[in-house]
């Protein structure tokens, strides 16, 4: 198979392979085809060299990290693709079932919204980097369409009573209530900049 992205050394590829493999204990399975998986990892390392971050080798990156944040591996779309198709778009991650049965996987179709793709980016949802000003910010909390279990519109007061903002990892859905997002997601290992304010 043609491979013109050999910038990364074998050791680098093996190191990243081992690092990503370790997430299996948290339910993230790498493709069982090691050669295939290492070819993708080589692509990730090549992207890191040219863009400064490991964007998906099967997607066109802009080179602007803020615009490409959702396609930095693991991408925002991985979990949904693995659940629905048994593999993510590039095939690096597969479902537990596919892994255990050594199934041959097919790539998932593109889930990324078109407007998020190259040159049409409106992707900005930064996690607050300054500290959380509890009182002041609580008063500003507005969440629409929240329903209580009996169908009555939730009053804003209840949400305003939250003592911390609720933050969500866009990669794996991990939710935490704290003033700032963790540096690294304790579940999937994504960086802090992949968190959004959820409530």
């Amino acid at each position: 198979m043609e491979n013109n992205n050999n910038a990364a050394g074998k050791n680098q590829v093996n190191d990243l392979f081992n690092k990503l493999s370790s997430f299996q204990t948290r339910g993230y399975f790498l493709n069982h085809d090691e050669n295939f998986t290492k070819a993708i990892i080589t692509g990730l390392l090549f992207n890191e060299t040219r863009y400064g971050y490991q964007s998906c080798p099967c997607r066109l990156a802009t080179g602007d990290k803020a615009k490409d944040l959702d396609i930095i591996c693991p991408c925002d779309y991985r979990d949904a693709d693995v659940a629905e198709y048994g593999a993510c778009l590039c095939g690096l991650y597969i479902s537990k079932k596919a892994y255990l049965n050594k199934e041959k996987v097919k790539p998932a179709p593109e889930r990324r919204p078109r407007e998020e793709s190259k040159n049409k980016i409106t992707y900005m949802d930064p996690v607050r980097s300054s500290g959380f000003d509890g009182d002041k910010d609580n008063k500003n909390l507005i969440v629409n369409n929240m329903q209580t279990s009996n169908g009555v519109k939730n009053d804003k007061k209840q949400l305003a009573d939250l003592s911390y903002p609720v933050l969500r990892c866009k990669v794996c859905g991990y939710i935490c209530a704290r003033a700032e997002a963790p540096d690294i997601c304790p579940i999937c290992g994504a960086d802090k900049d992949r968190f959004e304010r959820f409530i």
Binding site: M1, E2, N3, N4, N5, F36, A39, I40, T42, G43, F46, N47, P57, C58, R59, L60, A61, L89, C90, G91, K106, P107, P109, E110, R112, R114, S117, K118, N119
Partner: protein, 96 residues
């Protein structure tokens, strides 16, 4: 310089005009190129990620115009007569 000057041609049996929009890092693009080569079919490709600025935009817009697709590989057959998106092994084999 237009992106067309970066198109690479792989010689082989000329069944149909096959144009691939690919990424140099994409595993499915590599599989597609390898399969077409194995089948011995003449085809052309351009690695869109290796283009810069206008050239990249032109290539991306052209691919988009044909296929309404933003994913790779996108394979244009006979100038738009048929489009294959992704590594669709059966469809690719049928090109022969």
């Amino acid at each position: 310089m237009p992106y067309q000057s970066y198109i690479k041609k792989v010689s082989g049996q000329k069944a149909k005009e096959i144009m691939l929009f690919t990424l140099s890092t994409c595993i499915w693009c590599k599989k597609t190129k390898a399969l077409l080569k194995d089948l011995g079919l003449e085809h052309s490709y351009v690695d869109v990620d290796l283009l810069f600025g206008r050239d990249q935009e032109d290539a991306y817009d052209t691919m988009n115009k044909f296929s309404h697709s933003t994913s790779f590989p996108t394979i244009i057959i006979n100038n738009g007569e048929d489009i294959i998106i992704g590594f669709e092994e059966d469809k690719l084999r049928n090109l022969k």
